[in-house]
């Protein structure tokens, strides 16, 4: 199976169905009952589900454009449209939204990049080398992903507070410390995903490179990494999404509002004055969700391939 095939298996049936489209259709009268029994009811179900899926999102969008400001005022959908809330969002020094946004992106990107790198290194050795402990290693990684890191949140908190005595830059309140903690989860979830993909790259490619005098490092960095680029993108993206939505650990590590991420900042902002801050919160929610949603939808097909091979939201 080639790389493209394995990622785009969602498209497989389209190829099948196009075959039936090409066969000449018998001319027959359009009958409503028959149409409904075959595909009509499917449209009905699909439309109901689309409404349920999309409505809350439209509601947030409407609330964010509504200058009324409060929760009750947000119930009139799209009555008035103004960008007042978006302006206010960036003006209150007590809730530095712009900083939260930047913090989230920085923490998310750095974590994603290193997660991909660490995961790829490990997947390379599992896929290309045979050594004692390999099977046990793979099994343990698979089991470890059953236990999310935040279960040990108390120990992480105490570990960081002790670490802060030695390296103040890594202690509680430090974004760098938080990133290091997130990297602890780098292998658990992703190596398995990458390992499967690395296995689809034929060994003969490495061997040919080896004969040409390439070292293992050259094989890894210049050949393999390029061939597995799609899975690197998927893992990076999944890691980015997971990191930006993480609340438990971020909320205990980042205590200063200026260092917080969107998840922590927006939650503390809206939970203080739930009803009154609603419109401004909605504006923040729209801005926070947009980048993630755009990237997700653009890379949807690839992500689906990655997800179905083992990771869960």
């Amino acid at each position: 199976m080639t790389i493209e095939e394995s990622l785009e298996f969602m498209d497989a049936p389209r190829a099948r169905s196009s075959e039936s489209d090409r066969t000449p259709r018998r001319r027959r009268r359009f009958r409503l009952g028959r149409w409904f029994a075959e595909t009509g009811w499917r449209h009905l179900v699909a439309i109901v589900m689309v409404v349920i899926a999309v409505f809350p999102l439209l509601y947030v969008l409407s609330a964010s454009l509504n200058p009324a400001g409060s929760l009750v005022g947000s119930n009139d959908l799209f009555q008035t449209i103004s960008f007042e809330n978006y302006v206010k969002l960036f003006q209150n020094p007590d809730q530095p939204f712009a900083l939260w946004f930047v913090n989230t992106i920085v923490i998310g990107v750095v974590t994603a990049v290193f997660t991909v790198f660490l995961g790829a290194l490990a997947a390379f050795s599992f896929s290309r080398m045979r050594f004692t402990g390999r099977r046990i290693g793979l099994l343990s990684l698979m089991l470890i992903q059953m236990f999310p890191q935040f279960l040990a949140v108390v120990a992480i908190f105490l570990l960081l507070s002790a670490l802060g005595d030695v390296f103040p830059v890594l202690g509680l309140g430090s974004q760098l410390g938080l990133i290091l903690v997130y990297l602890g989860g780098a292998l658990g979830v992703n190596t398995y995903l990458m390992y499967g993909f690395f296995n689809t790259v034929p060994m003969s490619i490495d061997e040919a490179a080896k004969i040409d005098g390439a070292s293992h490092a050259q094989i890894f960095f210049t050949i393999i990494l390029r061939l597995v680029a799609p899975i690197l993108a998927v893992v990076g993206l999944l890691s980015f999404i997971a990191t930006t939505g993480e609340y438990v650990i971020a909320s205990i590590v980042l205590t200063d509002p200026n260092t917080q991420t969107l998840a922590v900042g927006l939650y503390s902002f809206v939970s203080q004055q739930f009803s009154n801050n609603w419109s401004i919160f909605s504006a923040g929610a729209v801005l926070a969700a947009l980048p993630v949603m755009i990237v997700f939808l653009l890379l949807q097909k690839h992500i689906v391939g990655g997800l179905t091979s083992g990771s869960v939201k």
Partner: protein, 557 residues
């Protein structure tokens, strides 16, 4: 050097190829040429030198940082961590400076180090904390507790000499630079570091103003950080009974002494009215009859006391059982509902003649693309009983207590999690349905099986084989689905039979979080860790049973 290692890689590869060709008939013969390549003299290509340099530089940086860390830790008397750090660093150097068989380790080490520290070690550490009384008032050693008790309740000594002081800073910590009124020496110290003499200090009018390695604060900085400065309480010596220096105006400090006097030989505190406090064996100083307790206490091992407390203390035990039951119910119901809806939708949309399939697919997975923590908050707004959209608009102003009635709140949580989770199941099921062989389906149809029967007897069993591991993972995920619960209901409505902040929709993980970091009440790390250990055990047992039944683990070769 790098080429040598590649030789090992090559050897292993060749072995593999031999093994593979032995099993598959007509496979390519193992490459003998590759073996011959091993005999070649190692050539150092340009990138080989670059890699070597990069390796040496990175190792050098690591070692330098470790050496520095060891000195800092030695200053803090952290001997066990020093040994561990040195062992790990030694191992890393050994791995990267060696050749041959260590090659796999070179690729695994970076990730594994992080995994060991921030995933495996923290789990073990949780296990340790679960057996201690670690909590807000019990978070240090006994020595720290004695110093803290002596520092609390400080009173100014009536005839205290005045110490001229300056405020200096090192790192982000503030220090007092004091001039001893008796001998005129400059001394420096801060809250947890007793005063010590500094050499080469700069004096103006007999008052020390600067010390090497410290930055003296100017007037505006002093004004900015007034609170920190007045909070400084610098012990005069390591003996807590000597008292401590404090300053109100950042220019003169006086000796303050606690009215509690510690007696080293008897291990007791005595206050000015003669009450004696003894070590009560529970990590605290208390009067013999237990009526008065000094705070803070210190950390001791308490055995299974936290687990015992969780299941016997009337404040915790009842709610805990309900939380455990609800956690299982929530995880199970979440998997069942999301899978049912996802599968149904996948089957509905998986029809060759359906138009607009692509658009439908993109639109129905939108909830999955929306960040989960935001979904919880948005739904919390929509379900708000007084002002929310659901009650105000859909139910015409009814006051249905969606989030405040215990059972309705549970229903809402399941519902919102269904909204969030069905797209994932939809994607998984669509993929699995499309990979099912079509011949089976056709054969059944020819034999006259009804669509329902085809689904029940053929499609569903085949589907379950491929998605079972994902359902188990989904169960484990929902078992700890912190974000939805915490953002939507915060675990509320609260139980009425306990003073703890635990409620009807709390999962074990949100309960752990609230016990350890909740607002108000004592932060009980020991109890919280005991509960996390409980979660570990429950998830492990469920996963092992489930994986045994589906035999997924056997697929790993």
């Amino acid at each position: 050097m790098a080429d040598d290692e590649a030789g090992t890689l090559e050897a292993e590869r060749a072995d593999d190829a031999e093994r593979a060709s032995a099993t598959t008939t007509g496979g390519e013969p193992p490459r003998k040429g590759a073996r011959a390549a091993r005999g070649e003299l190692p050539r150092l290509t340009r990138s080989g030198i670059g890699g070597l340099l990069a390796k040496i530089v990175l190792l050098g940086v690591l070692d330098a940082v470790v050496v520095w860390a060891v000195f800092v830790m030695a200053g803090l008397s952290m001997w066990i961590p020093i040994v561990i750090v040195l062992l790990i660093t030694g191992l890393i150097n050994w791995i990267y400076l060696g050749r041959g068989k260590r090659l796999p380790a070179k690729y695994l080490t970076p990730g594994v180090v992080f995994l060991m520290v921030f995933q495996v070690f923290v789990i073990l550490y949780s296990g340790y904390i679960a057996f201690t009384n670690y909590s807000d008032g019990h978070n240090g050693s006994k020595t720290d507790a004695i110093a803290a008790i002596s520092a609390n309740g400080l009173k100014r000594v009536p005839d205290s000499p005045a110490y001229p002081v300056n405020i200096v800073e090192r790192g982000s910590h503030l220090y007092l630079l004091a001039t001893d009124p008796k001998d005129g020496t400059a001394r420096v110290g801060t809250t947890d570091e007793p005063l010590r003499v500094v050499k080469n200090a700069t004096f103006e009018d007999g008052k020390a103003t600067k010390a090497p390695g410290y930055v003296t604060l100017n007037l505006s900085q002093v004004l900015d950080r007034q609170d920190e400065i007045t909070a400084l309480s610098v012990p005069l010596s390591t003996n807590p009974n000597d008292g401590a220096l404090r300053t109100d105006d950042a220019s003169t400090a006086y000796v303050y002494r606690s009215d509690l006097v510690y007696d080293k030989t008897a291990d007791t505190f005595t206050n000015s009215s003669g009450t004696v406090f003894v070590d009560n064996g529970e990590g605290e100083f208390a009067t013999k009859d237990g009526s008065q307790v000094l705070s803070p206490g210190w950390k001791i091992n308490v055995g299974f006391a936290n687990f015992k407390e969780a299941f016997t203390n009337s404040q915790i035990a009842g709610p805990l059982w309900r939380v455990i039951l609800w956690t299982f119910a929530f995880a199970l119901l979440s998997v069942i509902t999301t899978f049912a809806v996802g599968l149904f939708l996948a089957m509905v949309l998986n029809h060759p003649k359906l138009r607009g399939k692509k658009i439908y697919r993109v639109l129905v997975i939108l909830p999955y693309a929306f960040p989960a923590f935001l979904s919880g908050l948005v739904w919390a707004g929509m379900l708000n009983p007084e002002f929310g959209f659901i009650n105000q608009v859909l139910f015409g102003g009814a006051q249905i207590p969606w989030l405040t009635n215990a059972w309705l709140a549970r229903l809402s949580v399941i519902g919102v999690n269904l909204w969030l989770g069905y797209p994932y199941m939809f994607l998984v099921c669509t993929g699995a349905l499309q990979s099912l062989p079509e011949e089976v389906d056709e054969a059944a149809r020819v034999d006259g099986a009804s669509p329902w029967r085809i689904f029940r007897a053929i499609k569903l069993p085949l589907l379950l084989v491929s998605v079972a591991p994902l359902l188990i993972a989904s169960f484990a995920f929902n078992f700890n689905n912190f974000n939805v619960i915490y953002m939507l209901t915060k675990g509320w409505p609260r139980f009425t039979d306990t003073t703890l902040d635990i409620g009807s929709t709390d999962l074990l993980i949100t309960m752990v979080y609230k016990i350890a970091f909740g607002q108000g009440g004592v932060r009980d790390y020991g109890l919280a860790s005991a509960l996390s250990i409980l979660i570990f055990i429950l998830v492990a047992v469920v996963s092992i049973i489930a994986f045994r039944r589906t035999k997924t683990l056997e697929e790993i070769n």
